[in-house]
Subunit: 268 residues, 2 copies
């Protein structure tokens, strides 16, 4: 019964300084960073002013048929974005952790093709697509929204590359390390162990495998003393080796998504 990680957006103002050096990369204008930070804060505030909503496990926040979809900010619990294939199979396109925004596409795309579902008991904030669109009149917020979507897209690209070019072992390693890093960056965990409220079938749907093969691969990871996945608790046994292994696969891991610095600054 590990407590669910809960997200608390701390509103510091030291955040304006710190990321500057970290984001001091060629081609990234200081003005843009400042905009991103103020935009992040304003967007967050807008969501925090909405009432907290709750969803039980396996209930949908947004359906493919929803007339007026919303944008969500997860507060606690995990969710996932999925789309159903015609033959009843399912593809889980994105895993969402506390602190994530999702549904931003709805600002411009009507009738999303995907569903957003709670993986366990979830608390979140919701704001209608129209409201967020109105907020975007603020250029800082517009830039922040753009950064959030771009980051989500970056994750999607990584997933596609992973599905296309890696085997089951590598895919699972990437996924687990990825989630670990995201939780850690948001300071939702500080040990290499966390609760992952997904069944092996859901993991399979995410990684393009079958639950049987996921199970076998998890056993192998356990035998290698790399990662232990028991029930829905993930324990990374050898973080360094896991990092090396994943780094060898996808070069992009060495370069974390740039907006992360903003994330960390705003959320830490």
């Amino acid at each position: 019964m590990t407590a669910l990680p809960q997200y608390r957006g701390k509103v510091g103002n030291e955040m304006v300084e710190r990321p500057m050096d970290r984001l001091n990369r060629p081609g990234f204008a200081a003005a843009a960073v400042e905009d991103l930070l103020t935009g992040a804060e304003r967007l967050r505030q807008a969501f925090l002013q909405t009432p907290v909503r709750f969803a039980a496990r396996d209930t949908a926040l947004a359906r493919a048929s929803d007339p007026e979809p919303a944008v969500f900010l997860l507060h606690s619990g995990f969710a996932y974005r999925s789309c159903a294939m015609a033959d009843g199979r399912r593809a889980i396109l994105d895993i969402l952790v506390p602190g994530d925004f999702t549904g931003l596409d709805h600002i411009v795309l009507a009738r999303p093709m995907e569903e957003i579902t709670a993986a366990d008991r979830l608390s979140y904030h919701a704001l209608g697509a129209a409201a967020v669109r109105a907020l975007m009149a603020d250029p800082a917020i517009a830039l922040r929204v753009l950064a959030l979507i771009a980051e989500a897209r970056w994750r999607g690209d990584r997933l596609a590359a992973s599905l296309g070019r890696l085997d089951a072992h590598a895919r699972i390693c990437m996924m687990l390390l990825d989630i670990y890093e995201r939780l850690r960056r948001r300071e939702l965990i500080n040990r290499p162990s966390f609760n992952l409220p997904f069944t092996q079938e859901q993991i399979a749907d995410h990684l393009g495998l079958t639950l049987v093969h996921v199970n076998r691969t998890l056993r192998r990871l356990r035998e290698e003393h790399l990662v232990l996945v028991d029930r829905q608790v993930v324990t990374i046994r050898d973080l360094d080796r896991l990092r090396d292994l994943v780094r060898e696969l996808c070069p992009s891991v060495e370069i974390p998504e740039p907006t992360v610095s903003v994330e960390a600054a705003v959320e830490a």
Copy 2:
């Protein structure tokens, strides 16, 4: 020697009216549509004022190491977005056709992980990320940029679902129909045949297969009288059957991306 499809952005103003009814879906405010349309036009104009650039086959428009990346609007020819895996393998994440914008992530993400490469002789417009960021001060343009990224992400999601849950035959069908529909919507072709300047190895890298298996599957498609891919010319023999086949796989095909209406209006 099929002539390369060339993209001519016609600048009509009848476009403000027509899509309104088409986009008259629940939850899509008329104001947003109007913004999207004016934003689309302004963004296009900004790019059209830059000189046309050219790139030879297999040259990179943007590299993963680029200090100040740019945003591109393709004018003629195909390109692709790819990322290299550590073992030398490659994943082609997106196929770009004339009229596509790409590199919009660079507005907020420094150091993209991906490369953009010309698949054949290419002509295009380029605008620095900072310049586009400045353009985004215009809310209409900001909304349009958001729509473009959201659409690209939608394509990425489809690819991921396809890689994870479909076999080689289905993946190739989806890809070919997809490209066909995109070219047709932009009125770059009017017959079910087009030039596709990709080697079978590149197709394999896009669909997570090997060139050998792509070859075999293409032969099967030919034998089924579904699609004929000879050299780099694609000829769809039975469009209806192909559509049915793809529709059976991914339900989202029935709902084309909403911004397409805007595309069609602006570009047709």
